[in-house]
């Protein structure tokens, strides 16, 4: 039997529609390997209503996760509401006070008196350390009358690390009491193929594997396949995915496309340079998101204007005039110019129309050319058409460019 878990997201900004609630998806994904599904998710504004929402779960939920309302401002009162609801006094925790003092001292900022409220802990609660902010999380173990309650910070960068570090181990322990056995899980990641095509080509084969549960998770450009089951079923499922998508499968672990490419370059002792127009630096930024990328990535050029393409990459002004900046010859010259000037092993180039303006009948918004030049190997240029909003376009095309590098390193182009 699984646990009945409810999620309460607090925050007026979520209900005002200013901030997209990404907690639900992240937490649902994290709980998946434990076989726990979220039974209800509620979003309420900051303030006293948080207490009411929590009380409603008593007698119905085994575990309640509450996000938000742990900050230092006057509308952050989750701590106080929970203490009142459970009839437990708040005690100031001196270890948290010391941590707050160190946090502010390190940053050369004064500790505000309001921040000290963040050191108040309901009696019997465990403190969950927050390395990325001033608000620690709290875990109040359940009783006969009340569920296990986790109070977690609202900002995603503070909340997310706490889920694997603090919440999942405690949920495993709670499940352990109830006799549930965690299953094993594997994953594969694919780039450049849609979720429906993945489903269409794998569904029958996966369904035939006894003792296998599987799920899909689609992110822009990427499909993650998760398998849960016995070792032999997992091996068979991964083998099937690999043989069905030999080009598209880029990882069998929880790594990004950029991490996969940096690892491939590092293995081969090779370097990459970038020359970007419409992606505006995002390819370089994605590559340099990877720790250790400085070994394989030495420089990038953002040649947004035509003049910059000529001066920084040696693109021929005549070709810009004849074919336009968004064209096969310009993508090719950008890649080859970047390769030669950086003295790199590979150079990737992008030129396209991100929109919403700048499109034409012949070259509508969403038209893009990707170029890849290598010290050994011929230059390739791919044309893509991806009409969407500006930020999605940039993000998607940066990934496609990085995937082009991966396909070259794997010998597919």
């Amino acid at each position: 039997m699984s646990l009945r878990l409810e999620l309460i997201n607090t925050g007026t900004e979520l209900l005002l529609g200013k901030t997209l609630n990404t907690h639900l998806g992240f937490i649902a994904d994290s709980l998946f390997p434990l076989g726990i599904r979220i039974a209800r998710q509620l979003c309420v504004p900051d303030g006293a209503v948080i207490g009411e929402a929590l009380r409603e779960t008593f007698g119905r939920a085994d575990v309640v996760l509450v996000t938000g309302g742990l900050g230092p401002t006057s509308d952050d009162i989750t701590r106080e509401l929970v203490a009142e609801l459970l009839g437990r006094p708040l005690h100031r925790n001196e270890a948290i006070v010391a941590g707050l003092q160190a946090f502010f001292a390190k940053r050369g900022r004064p500790l505000q008196p309001e921040n000290l409220r963040q050191a108040d802990v309901p009696e019997g609660a465990e403190v969950l350390e927050n390395p990325f902010g001033t608000a620690p999380g709290l875990y109040v173990p359940g009783t006969a009358d009340t569920p296990h309650i986790f109070l977690l910070p609202g900002p995603p960068r503070e909340l997310r690390p706490m889920i694997p570090a603090d919440v999942l181990p405690r949920l495993r322990a709670i499940l352990g009491d109830s006799g549930a056995v965690p299953e094993t899980m594997r994953q594969v990641r694919l780039f450049g193929v849609g979720e429906s095509e993945v489903a269409n080509r794998l569904e029958a084969g996966l369904a035939a594997l006894a003792g296998l549960e599987y799920g899909y998770c689609a992110r822009p450009g990427e499909v993650e396949l998760r398998f849960i089951g016995s070792e032999s079923a997992l091996d068979a499922a991964v083998a099937l995915a690999k043989s069905t998508f030999p080009v598209e499968l880029f990882a069998e672990e929880d790594i990004s496309l950029s991490q996969a490419v940096v690892a491939l370059l590092a293995e081969r002792n090779q370097t990459l340079a970038s020359a970007e127009s419409c992606t505006g630096g995002l390819i370089a930024s994605r590559i340099t998101d990877v720790s250790g990328s400085s070994v394989v990535f030495h420089r990038g050029i953002v040649s947004y204007a035509n003049e910059a393409k000529v001066e920084l990459l040696g693109v021929r002004a005549e070709d810009l005039a004849e074919f336009g900046a968004v064209s096969e010859p310009v993508a090719r010259q950008m890649a080859e110019g970047a390769l030669w000037r950086a003295n790199a092993d590979h150079a990737v180039a992008v030129t396209g129309i991100a929109g919403p303006t700048g499109g034409s009948g012949e070259k509508p918004v969403g038209t893009v050319f990707l170029g890849l030049a290598s010290a050994r190997g011929s230059t390739v240029v791919e044309k893509h058409f991806y009409p969407t909003d500006r930020l999605t376009f940039k993000s998607m095309i940066a990934l496609r460019a990085i995937d082009l590098v991966r396909r070259r390193l794997m010998g597919h182009v």
Copy 2:
């Protein structure tokens, strides 16, 4: 007094984290001009629990919007649950049947018997036409005991057109009956000051303003202050925020820091260039996220390796050797080199240690120098220390660099 509106999103896929719930944001935004805020948003799986969730709102909500569960499959039972809950019989609506027949005929697909359930309407409900799918929406007017209930389809492309076409006019009519006056909202955005300091310095003044509601929303590096209330209270609140944070306040509207900087540059007919080391292209990417940025941003250099700093920006190799890449002289030369070579009005440069490796006792991870050079005005270099994880560091420092440009354009540095 405004209406108390609650939103119930139904759909197992939402709770599995497979599908991001974008209904909340869209509906909240749509309701905003009417002064209606969403008091609660609940997400429940498909099935009987939808009825329970709806019953909970009775006596508490004036209006309830329910999304999803109107489809033809066996787990789509919102219609039936509502009819049962309200004690109203379902009548098959012949106009809907005719519409379904036409819909399927147009697509050359046979009308399935299951689809006919979509023509069932609880007594007294109004049908809301769905031009993009087979499931019509339904509106059940409120009574003394029950709220106004809107049943709306789950797929965003079917739901979204119904909000302005069918829901908002009815909400206006309901508001008209209750004599409610829509509230107004304003916001200001601050960069470079923490949420607790904003609260500390504004709280007393804001609390003293009659008829003002306010809230904070902190994002990395940024605090958004939202005010709701009468025109005069809003004016006073915004004036207070401006006088308290004359440097930090960068917008009085819903725009990003990058949008604010691109707008300031465009107003002045000036251009910006970038020279990035540890941010790896993220400054350029953030700037080029803004539509129209090509007018003010022509090029950027990602000089990750020392050699690239020398070759592409003219940094002196002796200074790199003597002071190290992360130093005041190098940040200065990067900015001035980028300015001169790009022939721009301003150039911003960043060099620092993103970590997790590469730190030293003298220059620990998180050390960073920001440089800004301008065609008119002296070069400034700021040293910051921001020890955190690599991605947060990149994101935060890119914003700080963009804010340095803003502060120069505003005459603060």
